[in-house]
């Protein structure tokens, strides 16, 4: 093939979208033609630069603007920081964490295990549904619906696993999650840097209802952290359970106005 023909095929070559014969012919040509090789390298750099362009997050008032255009009244916001969750409900919340931690401990959720990702997901969603039902049966004294957190977790779980349009970066998903937190109006939550692996993310998202804020990347092989707020009175229960788990450790809790704030770290491996 002449240089002109080769150049016409370089884009497809990058996409690995050629016959074996064409591919071999191009590679032979590239090994002797500096000009075509330079063209290919420059195309590669371009595609790499395009893929690395910063993801620009939607403006914070996007949803508000959409609802305004649709003539939908803004929802009354729930101020999580100010409300009190009834002790019974809090107990169930802790149970939910424990269910998830238990599932984590069994290894069901870890990708690559024999049960498979899909089965794990089904089991987790089922366990969340059960937990959600239990929570709803607790007479609520606060206007915050605990189930909202779980729904967000389910939603994020779905979007996480499916990703979008190929190789979606976790950063954009983290941004989506942060925005969910904004809807629940979890104010003053510090942005925490949490590096998580994919399997950890499976666990993280299930307790979204308790995560104050989350941002992460799947590139870093570092422990994942959950930032949890629970009623101080339930702290000891949580510690009893955590003690019996492997691959999990907790920071010292900070108790403020009847609530305990703590971070739980997950570790991969044994």
């Amino acid at each position: 093939m002449e240089c002109k023909e080769i150049k016409e095929l370089l884009s497809n070559y990058l996409e690995n979208d050629l016959s074996i014969q064409q591919k071999e012919e191009i590679e032979r040509h590239l090994s002797v033609c500096k000009d075509c090789k330079a063209q290919l390298d420059s195309l590669k750099r371009l595609v790499s630069e395009l893929g690395g362009l910063k993801k620009v997050a939607a403006p914070a008032d996007m949803l508000e603007g959409i609802n305004r255009r649709l003539g939908i009244e803004p929802k009354k916001k729930v101020f999580l920081n100010r409300l009190k969750i009834p002790l019974e409900a809090a107990g169930v919340l802790v149970s939910v964490i424990l269910i998830v931690l238990f599932i984590n401990q069994t290894g069901i959720l870890r990708p690559g295990k024999q049960t498979g990702m899909e089965m794990a997901k089904t089991q987790v969603l089922e366990s969340l549904e059960v937990a959600q039902k239990e929570i709803l049966e607790v007479p609520a004294t606060a206007d915050y619906k605990v189930s909202e957190g779980l729904e967000s977790a389910q939603q994020f779980d779905t979007s996480y696993e499916k990703g979008y349009m190929g190789e979606a970066g976790f950063a954009s998903k983290g941004a989506a999650l942060s925005r969910m937190a904004q809807v629940a109006d979890i104010q003053e939550a510090p942005m925490q840097e949490i590096a998580i692996t994919e399997s950890m993310a499976q666990n993280l998202v299930k307790v979204k209802g308790f995560v104050r804020e989350l941002e992460g990347t799947i590139e870093k092989e570092e422990p994942a952290k959950l930032y949890i707020r629970i009623p101080a009175g339930k702290l000891s229960n949580l510690f009893v359970w955590l003690k019996g788990l492997s691959g999990v450790m907790s920071t010292d809790p900070e108790v403020k106005e009847g609530s305990a704030y703590l971070a739980i770290e997950f570790y991969e491996g044994p």
């Binding site: 884009s11 630069e49 939607a58 609802n67 939908i72 939603q155 499916k162 349009m165 941004a175």
Partner: protein
């Protein structure tokens, strides 16, 4: 089952549960906005177009057939809006002055004429590079731009692009090839 959660939210929306639609917005707004931003090259235009896309998606939700995913449906709407908007913007101002500020998330910036006398790659920091790349994307016509943004920036599959743009594979590949070469030419002092 693959897209069941979105479909569930759509059903709820159609039954009058607006909170369900909020969830769909929150799930996809960043992706739609980023695509619109890359297509339009303006933060404000992208915001307006993205909002319009969700509003149109909401209003035509009753016509949504579950043959594709919700995001494909949403992207189709958003890309069409962006393409129409680009045509309108091009008609309104046929020539863009280099003094015209570009709207970005960091506020307005002004284009700078490339200085061929300085060293090429190293001279540009990341922000400048990204601005130059966006500037080059802006110069593509909407048909080539749509394919390039979806494939090389959003990482969409050929099948996905085909559904979103209603094009056959051959057209997509040839537009992508052409778009990359046009961009490469415009960015030869940068890349």
């Amino acid at each position: 089952m693959y897209f069941s959660y979105d479909f569930d939210l759509i059903e709820k929306t159609l039954k009058g549960d607006n909170a369900a639609f909020d969830k769909l917005v929150l799930k996809y707004q960043d992706r739609i906005f980023n695509t619109a931003y890359r297509m339009l090259g303006s933060y404000e235009e992208a915001k307006d177009a993205s909002q319009e896309a969700f509003v149109n998606a909401y209003r035509s939700l009753g016509n949504f057939r579950k043959e594709s995913s919700f995001y494909t449906y949403l992207y189709r709407i958003a890309i069409n809006l962006c393409k129409n908007r680009l045509k309108r913007l091009n008609r309104e101002s046929k020539f863009v002055s280099v003094d015209t500020p570009i709207s970005t998330e960091d506020g307005e910036i002004r284009l700078e004429i490339a200085d061929d006398t300085s060293s090429p790659r190293e001279a540009l920091d990341i922000k400048d590079r990204q601005a130059r790349i966006q500037e080059a994307i802006n110069s593509l016509d909407e048909e080539h731009k749509a394919v390039l943004v979806l494939r090389d920036i959003e990482g969409a599959s050929y099948e996905g692009i085909s559904q979103m743009l209603g094009l056959n594979m051959g057209t997509i590949k040839s537009r992508l090839h052409r778009a990359r070469y046009m961009l490469k030419e415009k960015l030869k002092d940068v890349i």
